[in-house]
Symmetry: C2
């Protein structure tokens, strides 16, 4: 079996028709959902691109792998999907974005060069790169945000787009009065991107994915990782005007959220992006573009699915559709992601398993509390391996796909490190204290903030919109304590004993005794003679008189 | 300045005359204490050789580095003293024992060979090995416990000791009726070891240490790491009969400890070594030998100190004397180490700092709550560096040496993983649940056991001998909760973000904006023009009609 692990960037869980969106029709997402299981309670381990992805790719919590924010390098030697799947004989390829930064200092310390296969995989988060393009070719007075070469920009240049950075000037910009109308500015989000649709990012990456699959040696895992619908919010014809103000939902926000807010929430509500999304005009411009980008993703997913159908690969390819986090889009007075309300931390998660063992669950939903790290475990099991649960902290979802009801986790964890942001400084915190932890048990969601702040608490049964922070008042202490106990339990988890499996440990017991380590002998009669035979016999010589 | 980091194995904190031992006179330990500071509340992060040493060598908690028991490999790439000190221009050498197992699988995964300098350091816990000898050359029906070559055995063979394993047959055995009387058997502990004293392990390693120092290029750190007074408990003439039954203290134990004991404590009280040390004859044989081994260590320390004095090295060499854990010796009905009573988890810690900044504290004691991981931080500071506190979790002791009163930790943590022992199986636990955590605030000591057991609690103010486990009854819940809060706080510590320092993070803020990442612009007027200048200008071409 192959694995087609498709990730969209910043795709909200609820912007799909199979998830109930009233206006956005996504027949191809729905087609996969009809063939598989849609997990309706899937949470990322960090609601920010880089950290979330490192969790997906390692199967480990952010605090376990340490790459806790964008651009924090993944430490050299940290094991990834590539390590685990290759051990099972499955190749592991990247087509698109990872947002991974290599641990260049660690690689130098270990003498690893990216020119070697081993070094290249260390530098590419364990993947073999068919094409790596993180899709953020921003440029400012200090140069490019991403200093690598951009395969996508090279593609556009090969197609004649007349620019040094056609990503910025064409794919992510419109035209107004003969001038570039950059997609970075929300006021331009309703313009069509100044690019042939077929040359825009999503169709380009889809073609790369198909080209990969055409030549791939089975079994393979392909991580097809789209930058869209991530900002800049701008999309080419015809997607730019498929949706309009009639399709923009009212923001999910309430004045009560701004009354005595938690200081960290308060700081985020006051930041530039939140202020922008608090303007109705911004939402009216951005959300139709965001929907158009998703619609384009859906159409391209259709192209990919059709190819799998026609080529026969559908029969032996597991398909996974998910996202690295959501997008507030003005909900809760916020833009972007970062915090733990459902629009940010909950993601779509649809899995099609072609095996007949999964026949009984096709087209169903599953409300188990899923963590994004579960995919790594799922993939190892799908590749025929035993999940190395001393390394991978997630749990295989295969039992759910098979219609079983496994004993399952009681809580999900997500983390956010905002030490590199201005909020940390504004709140007067040292970097190490700028960390948040979410504990969610399926009903109550606790957010713990380091740095001496009170927690936040939401009851999603009585307040599914998460307006009422119950920890503002001295109530619900029982629930708060219970969720803090979960967090403490998680804090003691076995995360770093990665060099010894549970089975190895069981098998090792008693071995030192048979290798002559006997620190309990009074006179030797305690053990069979064979264990002490190396310690008995005639003394070859005496030195006692020397 | 150089650093002479001397470790004894299994040396109790209280078996030194400077620490108040009534019979054991250790003038050379006392000499260092008189020149420096003796820390009277120093705790190891795991009371077992291998795990404790990996904490010393990394400056990190056992749960952070993951080598949580003897023989659990230290994961490849985990940074050690060698990495940190070499960065400051200081060499880092090993003379003796580390009990480190290389992560052979991880090294193979990264293509690292022990034949290279980088690979050899990965395989030797970051040290350059002047001589590595772990001092446990046990042999049984399945072969040697330690599969390396033994430099010490080679030394003995070069001296003509007629055996394939003279460590076992001579250095750690007496003679009785012409037969080998193995030191593995407590009944032989009162016999003299059948070896010239000068050829026994402690003098041999002392000579190696001096030979190293003679040729070393300053600045150096030398980890001189003795196997003794670790078992086998047997010592050559004249140390074998310096102490007798008059010098053996009564065991520190009480019948109340055996009444409804904590299940893990109960299991340990029932094991073979505990049963042996519960016999008075065993203590009468072993403790005088243990004292003789320490006396020999003290004499050899004198040889080393004299050499430093004579060579002038004393003036620019920091000297540290410590141990990896203690020895129950029958206290609390136990033998060996493993659990968290003071005789096991508390260690001697004496630091001589030659710099004049430390003049005010010479000959004093310090009762600050010290963790063994503090040494790594101390050494980095002594080498002239800033402590990388995103990697090293301990804190430099230099302020204490300088007579300052720094704000200090509120609690110390120690951990014990007994998954590889028979106790795990007997208690019906899976390996991952066979873990203990100690939280000690200087007065109350809480022991948390995974696996669903109740905690243990001792009040060392009212019960310094730790007989009364206060958690047996439903009392002291306030203290238990308070210490559990500390444990939870520790569980959320920042341990794995090892690729980004606090300073790096502060310096990184705002940089992405100057590299064109501007996800908050409504119309561009929000920022100076220079930040958006790459996104404006005439559109080179329009594709909108294509």
């Amino acid at each position: 079996m192959n694995i087609l692990f498709i990730m969209y960037d910043q795709l909200r869980f609820d912007y799909l028709s199979c998830a109930g969106h009233p206006h956005l029709h996504t027949p191809n997402f729905d087609r996969v959902a009809a063939m598989g299981v849609r997990f309706t309670n899937a949470y990322v381990q960090s609601p920010i691109c880089g950290a979330s992805r490192m969790c997906y790719y390692t199967g480990r919590y952010a605090s376990s792998h340490g790459a806790q924010w964008n651009g924090f390098p993944l430490r050299v030697g940290e094991q990834t999907l590539g390590d685990h799947l290759r051990r099972e004989g499955m190749d592991c390829w990247l087509i698109g974005k990872t947002h991974m930064r290599a641990d260049a200092e660690g690689m130098a310390r270990l003498g690893l060069s990216p020119d070697t296969t081993i070094g290249a995989r260390q530098a590419e988060c364990g993947f073999d790169a068919w094409v790596r393009d993180d899709g953020l070719w921003g440029e400012g007075p200090d140069g490019f945000y991403d200093e690598r070469r951009s395969p996508y920009n090279e593609y556009l240049k090969s197609k004649g787009y007349p620019s040094q950075n056609p990503w910025a000037d064409f794919a992510n910009a419109g035209v107004e009065d003969g001038n570039i109308a950059s997609g970075w500015m929300f006021r331009n989000a309703d313009k069509p991107a100044n690019i042939r649709e077929t040359d825009s990012e999503t169709p380009w990456l889809t073609r790369e994915a198909i080209a990969f699959i055409k030549q791939a040696r089975a079994p393979w895992c392909a991580h097809v990782s789209y930058i869209k619908p991530h900002w800049p919010y701008i999309v080419p014809v015809p997607y730019h005007d498929m949706y309009g103000s009639a399709h923009v939902p009212a923001p999910v926000r309430d004045d009560v959220e701004r009354e005595d807010p938690h200081p960290v929430f308060g700081a985020y509500m006051g930041n530039k992006i939140a202020q922008a999304f608090q303007q109705d005009e911004v939402r009216q411009k951005v959300i139709p573009a965001y929907m158009g980008l998703i619609k384009q993703c859906d159409d391209q997913l259709g192209v990919l699915l059709d190819y799998l159908d026609e080529s026969g690969a559908m029969e032996d390819t597991m398909i996974v559709l998910t996202s690295d986090h959501g997008d507030y889009l003005g909900d809760h007075w916020l833009g972007e992601k970062d915090l733990f309300h459902e629009p940010s931390v909950k993601v779509p998660m649809i899995i099609y398993d072609p095996r007949s063992t999964a026949d009984a669950t096709r087209g169903t939903t599953c409300d188990a509390l899923v963590e994004s790290i579960d995919l790594a475990a799922t993939f190892v099991e799908a590749a025929g391996g035993n999940v190395p649960d001393h390394i991978i902290e997630g749990r295989s979802l295969v039992p759910w796909l098979n219609g079983e009801q496994p004993e399952w986790r009681e809580f999900a964890i997500s983390e956010y490190d905002y030490s590199a942001t201005a909020h940390c400084e504004k709140l007067g915190l040292e970097p190490r204290d700028a960390r948040l932890f979410m504990v969610f048990d399926g009903r109550f969601k606790l957010i713990h903030a380091e740095g001496g702040f009170r927690p936040m608490l939401f009851d999603l049964d009585t307040d599914p919109e998460e307006f009422h922070d119950l920890a503002k008042r001295d109530a619900h202490q029982g629930e708060i304590d219970r969720l803090y106990d979960y967090l403490a339990q998680w804090g003691r988890r076995l995360a770093q004993r990665v060099t010894r499996s549970e089975d190895d440990i069981k098998a090792s017991r008693g071995k030192s005794m048979r290798r002559g380590i006997l620190p309990f002998l009074v006179d030797g009669s305690e053990v069979p003679d064979e264990l002490t035979s190396k310690y008995t016999g005639p003394a070859p010589r005496s030195y006692l008189d020397e």
